[in-house]
């Protein structure tokens, strides 16, 4: 019963379906988009909603069971002394790490794009990405070996006659390790931004009488800035959400937001408070991304 089409080919089920889809563009779009959209809605969005709902519940102190009645007490509790200190510490560390990485990444990326030969560039690129191939934990543990009392750093300083820095298990150690771990995430976007600056801009700047420094500050840096902002999204948010480095490297006052969430889930079984606290980094990131958008970070991609 196959219908013969204009081309003389018999129309099978498949061709009929494809023809129908060709005629109705919206149907094509629905079919293509619905699996990822469904995934996004169910897995991604629904879990956030579930978290918000949980944050509005509480835990019965006697039975430790969830109490399914609405309360804002978890959110109110966040704004008490200790938690504000911890949020402030987390934010401060994320900011310092971001600035450190930006300062380190700019000259490095500039060298890669403007100075290095193509061969050296490839080599440097590999070196930047190389640490990402090793386990996060292995790298953190390597830093413990370097920084702890009796570690490589102390040993080196002592042999140079400079005394012992003794920075193992402290916030300084955390700053060094975070800056190291997230550096590639800053270098890559900055590299991308610098690479797209046409040589003609720099030549034009020179032709118009600007010296090297002036070209750098008036031409190169402004054009690299969106890349820096894009990289800062990574370094900032990754530091903000981390709890392993504070746990492994931190000193006696090194709790991060993540550590408090962890102890509320793992030890206290206080899911509602953990959920409420988990909104703090989300809100911070929303604010950060809004600012980043104004600074043109998303134009870098």
């Amino acid at each position: 019963m196959a219908v013969t089409s204009a081309l003389g080919r018999s129309e099978t089920g498949t061709t009929r379906v494809s023809a129908a889809l060709w005629r109705r563009g919206w149907a094509r779009a629905v079919l293509t988009l619905s699996p990822p959209l469904l995934w996004f809605l169910v897995v991604y969005f629904a879990s956030l909603v579930a978290m918000l709902i949980t944050a509005l519940w509480s835990v019965n102190p006697f039975t430790n069971n969830l109490v399914h009645s609405w309360t804002f007490s978890n959110f109110r509790e966040i704004f008490t002394g200790t938690y504000l200190t911890i949020i402030g510490r987390t934010l401060g560390m994320a900011a310092i790490v971001t600035v450190t990485d930006a300062v380190l990444a700019l000259p490095f990326a500039y060298f890669m794009t403007r100075v290095a030969s193509p061969r050296t560039r490839k080599l440097l690129f590999t070196l930047v990405v190389l640490p990402l191939w090793a386990s996060y934990l292995a790298r953190v543990y390597a830093w413990i070996v370097i920084l702890q009392n009796g570690g490589t750093l102390n040993w080196t300083f002592q042999h140079l006659g400079l005394g012992s820095p003794n920075i193992g298990y402290s916030n300084v150690a955390m700053w060094i390790v975070f800056s190291y771990i997230w550096l590639p995430f800053m270098i890559l976007p900055v590299y991308g931004a610098l690479e797209r600056i046409p040589d003609s801009y720099i030549e034009a700047s020179g032709d118009l009488g600007a010296r090297n420094l002036r070209t750098l500050f008036r031409v190169v840096l402004p054009l690299a800035f969106p890349g820096v902002v894009a990289g800062s999204i990574f370094t900032f948010s990754l530091t903000l959400g981390d709890f392993i480095t504070p746990l492994l490297i931190g000193g006696s006052s090194s709790n991060f937001i993540g550590n408090v969430i962890y102890s509320n889930i793992g030890l206290a079984n206080n899911l509602p408070f953990a959920a409420a606290l988990a909104f703090v980094p989300i809100v911070i990131m929303i604010i950060y991304l809004t600012i980043a958008r104004f600074l043109g970070a998303f134009e870098a991609f």
Partner: protein, 403 residues
């Protein structure tokens, strides 16, 4: 393999043990309340009248365990499988809460035994997830330390809901270079003299250590049980621990951290498990441990049988097997804890020179009396009042202490 297994304890054990202790604490509190007919008066475990087996029948050929990592090692599982024909499958949860979840609905007809810690025991018992066991079928039970035969965390109204396995104290670890003689009091970890050289576990249950110290040094507070604190007692303890914060080098999360702190000299005194002491001493570091005059906290684990255990005969054979002196000794040395079976001591010495004393397996009963085993702090106190501070608040306070 061995070192890896041991390293686990620090990580998981921190959380797991705490959880377990918490559960245990919860357990013993409920138990005490139940036996005394106070706040939870008349609370009877749902499976209290469940009939117990009178003999061990033929093995079912399989055994499914929920165990702490390191509790089902090939050293003693392989010979067990060979002797009984019971094939052992084990899952290794990370926390006591995970253990309780896996045991939901009486083990779901899937699991037979769980190596629950004190902080999980009472939750399992009062949840009806475990059933009474006949200790008469475990010949080595009578060789256990008397206080581990029917402890409050697994035995209620004379009904045994499990058989004790192993335990360990939280000791005071110190550098013998700094301390020519052993410190006699926990006061050293609150002393400005050792500022910046002190380390304690990063764990809310550590508040109990502070409470135990205050129960002896400040009797006017009237602390009798470090896991049952009124708000006033609790506040005093938290104040003590806050004053300790500036003296702390690091709140350790992993036993390996404390080992590195002591081996590098960054810390000279702190709260520890015997595992750290033994590891440091084995590497030649000048450290020693002691249980100060105020006593110490500790943890204790129990094998408990699921209400819907599908392979009860194999389960009894397993408990019988792991209670024997040899397996007790092997597990104690492999994991770094103290066996429940007194006869394990000489075998520990055979396996590792001085192994028995290293893990206190030969200590006098008076030693055990100084240990306050972890249990979950509950709002219901032993005295029948509901004015004790629950564990949740412990976690909040601990966050404030460690800032």
């Amino acid at each position: 393999m061995k070192s890896r297994r041991r390293l686990w304890r620090p990580a998981s054990a921190g959380v797991a043990v705490i959880g377990v202790l918490l559960i245990a604490a919860y357990g013993s509190t409920v138990t005490a309340a139940a036996t005394k007919g106070h706040a939870s008066g008349g609370l009877v475990p749902p499976t209290a009248h469940y009939p117990v087996q009178k003999s061990i029948g033929k093995g079912e050929g399989k055994l499914n365990l929920i165990a702490w990592a390191g509790y089902a090692q090939p050293e003693w599982v392989k010979p067990f499988e060979k002797a009984t024909g019971c094939q052992v499958n084990a899952v290794y949860p990370n926390t006591s809460s995970d253990m309780v979840s896996l045991m939901a609905n009486g083990g779901g007809g899937q699991y037979d035994l769980v190596s629950a810690s004190g902080d999980a025991d009472l939750r399992l018992i009062y949840g009806g997830d475990v059933r009474p066991v006949n200790v008469g079928l475990i010949p080595d039970w009578k060789n256990f330390h008397a206080w581990l035969q029917s402890p409050g965390f697994n035995t209620i109204n004379g009904v045994h809901y499990g058989v004790s396995l192993q335990f360990g104290p939280n000791v005071l670890l110190y550098s013998t270079k700094t301390f020519k003689t052993a410190p006699t009091s926990w006061s050293v970890i609150y002393s400005k003299k050792y500022a910046g050289k002190i380390t304690v576990p990063n764990n809310p249950i550590q508040i109990a250590d502070g409470a135990l110290y205050l129960s002896k040094t400040n009797p006017s507070l009237g602390i009798t049980d470090p896991y049952e604190l009124t708000q006033k007692q609790f506040n005093a303890t938290v104040a003590l621990l806050k004053s300790e914060h500036p003296l702390i080098k690091k709140y350790w999360d992993l036993a390996s951290q404390e080992i590195s702190l002591f081996s590098s000299g960054a810390a000279v005194v702190g709260a520890a498990w015997p595992y750290q002491t033994n590891t440091l001493q084995a590497s030649g570091y000048k450290v020693a441990e002691t249980i100060p005059k105020e006593g110490a906290t500790g943890w204790a684990d129990t094998w408990m049988m699921a209400t819907k255990a599908p392979h009860p005969n194999c389960a009894y054979m397993w408990i019988k097997w792991v209670s024997t002196p040899k397996v007790q000794a092997e597990q104690a040395l492999s994991f770094g804890e103290t066996p429940a079976n007194k006869l394990a001591c000489p075998i520990m010495n055979q396996l590792q020179k001085g192994g028995c004393a290293a893990y206190h397996a030969n200590a006098a009963e008076s030693y055990f009396a100084t240990l306050k085993f972890w249990k979950t702090p509950l709002a219901t106190c032993d005295n029948g009042k509901n004015d004790c501070v629950p564990f949740q608040d412990w976690v909040t306070a601990w966050t404030q202490i460690t800032g």
